[in-house]
Amino acid sequence: MPPNASQGSTSGPTMILGVIGADCHAVGNRILELAFREAGLNVVNLGVMVSQEEFIAAAIETRAAAIVVSSLYGHGEMDCRGFREKCVEAGLGGILLYVGGNLVVGKADFAGVEAKFRAMGFDRVFGPGSGPEHGIAALKDDLRARGVAFG
């Protein structure tokens, strides 16, 4: 497990949480950690300013079922590019990849943003106004579809 990550003790499926790139928005990350943990997941939280490489390394090490990426500061589009490809290279081709927050620069039509990140290989995309509950509900569905239940 990466040295600075905080981890809970639940026995549910493991997920990696973090804020990507040079993004320092810490508040939402803190709340997401708590919420996912309360929902029964084993959350490995890498905090803010996490690189793609750090996400992937943590996922390999902990055999995580999902990587949940936040991006608030607007550079999400640049920071997330090639993430899925890197996962595939690292042998994590099938891992669930979620992203949420204020993903692009400016107030954007969400449908366009969603399409953009779906095309990059993210399984689920969440825009401003989506809270942890939306991510949790989706994760329940998606993991159940893969035969994993939690919570």
Binding site: N4, G21, A22, D23, C24, H25, A26, V27, R30, I31, L34, G47, V48, M49, Y73, G74, H75, E77, M78, N102, V104, V105, G106, K107, A108, P128, G129, G131
Partner: protein, 484 residues
């Protein structure tokens, strides 16, 4: 450069300088400091930030300033002109992008290229270092109002060199306030030393006849930061700046939400900062105050956002801050368009002009809050000074190490992150967890009572759930987070 105790000797500064300028090719453009002095000396009085603040302060008026920055130079100029002409901004910003803030100039360069290619700004601000001195001069020359650099950069030395030489007359930030909320792994002694460099640079400009305004970033993490914490950091950064020869300082405060606490906090900030500057022999530094409209999470609905902007302006008006930083109806969604930014400015101006003439709120609540904030803030500052054993900078570093200074929700490892704020019954921000803050029992009791009063009213135990509810509250249309 090491953490200096006292003003950095000029030869030490000059020895450090070549490495700073070497960090990116544009650094070469500012090798001759005299060019920067000459550029600044040519800026007319009406466009000097410090002078505008002095005038406003003398007249008892509040100036309004938005945040704004886009990737490309011409687009950025167009944006600032719109904010000036249509929004009537008194003061202009140039917000720097997040790659530049992390000194990731290569990534900023990629952002510039892609922005050019796609025709939309892919960066969340203006990459001034990459654009270089001439571009900065084009920006500052293109508008009729003073322009400030606003960012969030732990190591802002090269950015300072380039933007000051580029004619910007004010520079935001500080070794604490631009590290703790903005970074993860930067040691505090590093960022404070870097900012001593920046302040020394501003001091050099002052020695050469041009006063550049400096503004510690008041709101820190923008999320229920108790006034004593942000005020203590602001005063310490003001002292650090004055120590390096800075002549014009604006100390800022981010709205907490309760009107009486907000008004008291700004009064206390101004009063204490003046007192401490005098105590250290810098009583002749020009001091002004800044009020940031609500810095926490906004509602996504624009009508509600307008309410939050107005509410902040009411508190700002009654606090008699010299400057108000305005938000926009797009706050919750993304970097605002020029139009949204103009709308925020107009709402702010309207509320300001309707309240500004009204009498001060001279109520017992304000007095009480002010006494409380004075007491807590002094305690924090005194502890840091004592720990520094004569060095303000070292005191700040040691205080954070000891948890005697701390910031809630800070991403940085340099803060212990043990303090936890929560609202009381009336929405004032109190302490739920004191972490390692050196408070006496009297202060602690005050907060405990306030928190348990609220808990009783809501029929629940004080808990982190209460804090979470508070964090969401404003974005969900309340001030105090209610049990779900």
């Amino acid at each position: 450069m090491d953490l200096a105790s006292g003003r950095i000797p000029i030869d030490a500064f000059m020895k450090e300088r070549p490495a700073v300028l070497a960090a990116w090719p544009t650094g070469r453009e500012v090798e001759r400091l005299e060019d920067g002095f000459a550029c600044q000396a040519a800026v007319p009085e009406a466009k000097r930030f410090a002078a505008a603040l002095d005038r406003a302060d003398a007249a008892g008026e509040s100036l309004v300033q938005p945040r704004a920055g886009v990737c490309l130079v011409d687009e950025h100029i167009k944006l600032l002109r719109q904010l000036e002409a249509q929004g009537g901004a008194d003061l202009l910003p140039t917000t720097i992008d997040s790659y530049t803030r992390q000194n990731r100039y290569a990534e900023a360069a990629a952002g510039i290229e892609e922005s050019k290619a796609t025709g939309r700004s892919l960066l969340n601000g203006f990459p001034a270092v990459n654009h270089g001195v001439e571009a900065c001069r084009r920006v500052t020359a293109a508008v009729g109002r003073p322009v400030q650099v606003r960012h969030g950069t732990p190591d802002a030395r090269l950015l300072a060199e380039i933007t000051l030489a580029g004619g910007f007359t004010a520079y935001e930030g500080g070794g604490i306030s631009y590290n703790i909320p903005y970074a993860k792994n930067v040691p505090l002694d590093r960022s404070i030393a870097w900012w001593q460099y920046c302040d020394r640079l501003v001091g050099l400009y002052a020695e050469n006849g041009v006063v550049v305004n400096r503004e510690p970033f008041g709101p820190l993490t923008g999320t229920m930061v108790p006034p004593c914490i942000s005020n203590a950091v602001a005063v310490i950064e003001a002292l650090l700046a004055a120590e390096q020869g800075v002549r014009s300082i604006s100390v800022g405060y981010g709205q907490c939400g309760n009107l009486y606490q907000d008004v008291a906090a700004v009064q206390s900030l101004r009063g204490l900062c003046r007192t401490y500057l005098e105590r250290f022999g810098w009583g002749d530094v020009r001091l002004s105050t800044v009020f940031h409209q609500w810095m926490g999470g906004f509602p996504t609905d624009e009508a509600q956002a307008f309410a939050v902007i107005s509410w902040g302006t009411v508190a700002a008006a009654f606090s008699r801050a010299t400057k108000i930083i305005s938000k926009t109806p797009h706050e919750a969604s993304g970097i605002p368009t020029a139009e949204a930014n103009v709308a925020g400015l107009k709402t702010t101006r309207q509320v300001l002009c309707m309240f500004r003439e009204q009498q001060d709120i001279a109520s017992a609540e304000v007095e009480r809050e002010r006494a409380q904030i004075d007491r807590e803030t002094s305690l924090l500052i005194e502890t840091a000074l004592r720990l520094g054993e004569g060095s303000i900078a070292a005191g700040a570093v040691r205080a954070f190490q000891a948890g005697a200074l701390d910031v809630p929700f800070a991403p940085s490892r340099a803060a212990r992150g043990a303090v936890m704020p929560v609202r009381d019954l009336h929405g004032a921000v109190r302490f739920f967890d004191f972490g390692g803050l050196p408070f006496d029992e009297g202060i602690k009791d005050f907060h405990r009572r306030a928190v348990s009063e609220r808990a009783r009213a809501e029929r629940r135990q004080p808990s982190f759930q209460m804090v979470t509810d508070d964090i969401y509250a404003v974005s969900k249309g309340r001030l105090v987070g209610k049990p779900r």
